[in-house]
Symmetry: C2
Subunit: 240 residues, 2 copies
DNA sequence: TATTATTGTAACATTGTGTTACAATAATAA
DNA sequence: TTATTATTGTAACACAATGTTACAATAATA
């Protein structure tokens, strides 16, 4: 078995990678009126974890993060943001990794590098759900979307990492207009409002929301969208 | 010579500390209508650097950062915030450290741990200038305040780190009301306004500023302050 | 052609901020 | 003692942003 998070050839003691440092990525997507997160599931042991990886000896940190997200989503131009470093000593717990290795029939002594303390750099990514092709690999059975309010128990402090990422996403909403990265190319103001409401966790008033979004001057009205419903058809917009 | 950033006994190959990881602290103070940053100057070589340090094997990251700031300022309860991780490969340049070691008469091979790549976790601290007692040590000649718009050339990418810290400070101004951490216990609204203007780099209108600050409901009016000037005396306020 | 649900937007209310103006007042000078 | 001066505290108005209500427009269905 190759070690998890190793993106190409690496020896069993992690040669070629920085030790004690990892990247964890919270990849957000939006689909079916729900905010979702991409999670990995280890083979056999069934342990859930955030997509993650390590940093090559001569690799830029941000490039390593980009690599992690790319390899799991199949996408190239990704909105990515560093949001926090998780560095408590107590967060480090070798048990899940030992379980995973044992389940896969890998013999490893207690001094194995993956059982040592790690500090994780948290990144969140915003992707267009419709364009993602989730990619598991030799180590992971699963790479799938999970609804934000239905996340299974994750390895180590990964649940807490997701919460912190959501916080960062919220603060970025108004300041950096990050939400558009979660939308498909064409969308209605209604769709956009649902996304905002989901991220903020509260209802917004339609007239105020529409006025605000349109006043930003970053939306281009394209055509009407006939939904088949017995009502006026909404306009489709594109982000410019 | 002990290695820089080692806060107690450590061998010459950095035993007891996490490798490849460092903390850099941008310690902001406010005095004399100026925003200032605490900088270290190495003995003999005269190289300038941000206060920094390493993380002990079993130490929480945030505790390590607190330790760095405490040891340089003599303060205990410090407003501290993680703001960015600097992880470009190119930022790493062993030359200044070699110069420093050589100037201090330390023989060290190219494989010395301090000449390897480091990833720096940036923290900024906000302190009450009047309470700080800058503390150099065996390695540093100087530990002094420098005006933000008069920072000397620093080691590695430390100048860029300060700029990024300032950005983070600016965004925290309205959201988290961080400015009060830079004030002494008692201050006038005029003092506070000057601080805001310095951080934001622009003039503010007095009536609007005062109205806003007072409407926050976090200021307690104490007494008048007789400045000796030929004009009405301003009120002193305390942060609650 | 009436009904229904939803959209787009006008209109008004409320709040927040920008700006001008001026009375209050502490020290100094006449 | 009284005018002068500089600065503070705050009222008053203007304008912008946002919250809220209301309603006409319109796509599908009955």
């Amino acid at each position: 078995m190759k070690e998890p998070g190793i993106r190409n050839e690496g020896g069993s003691q992690g040669e070629g990678y920085m030790h004690g440092l990892a990247i964890d990525a919270v990849i957000f997507g939006f689909h079916d009126r729900q905010l979702k997160v991409l999670l990995m599931q280890y083979k056999k042991s069934g342990v859930f974890a955030l997509p993650g990886g390590f940093i090559r000896d001569k690799e830029n940190l941000n490039d390593a993060a980009k690599g992690v997200v790319s390899i799991r989503t199949g996408l190239e131009n990704i909105y990515l943001e560093q949001f926090y470093v998780f560095g408590d000593y107590a967060r480090f717990d070798p048990t899940p990794m030992k379980t995973i290795m044992k389940a896969n029939g890998v013999e490893a002594g207690d001094d194995h590098w993956l059982f040592q303390r790690f500090i994780s750099i948290g990144y969140y990514a915003l992707v267009d759900f419709t364009k993602v092709v989730p990619m598991p690999d030799q180590i992971f059975d699963g790479c799938d979307w999970y609804e934000l309010n239905n996340i299974p128990p994750l390895m180590q402090d990964h649940n807490a990492i997701i919460l912190k990422a959501l916080e960062a996403l919220r603060t970025g909403l108004d300041n950096k207009l990050v939400a558009f990265n979660l939308m498909p190319e064409e969308f209605t103001l209604g769709d956009l409002q649902i996304l905002y409401e989901t991220i903020l966790g509260k209802k917004l008033l339609r007239p105020a929301f529409q006025r605000k979004m349109l006043s930003l001057g970053i939306l281009e009205r394209i055509a009407k969208k006939w939904t088949g419903g017995a009502h006026k058809a909404p306009y489709l917009y594109r982000f410019v």
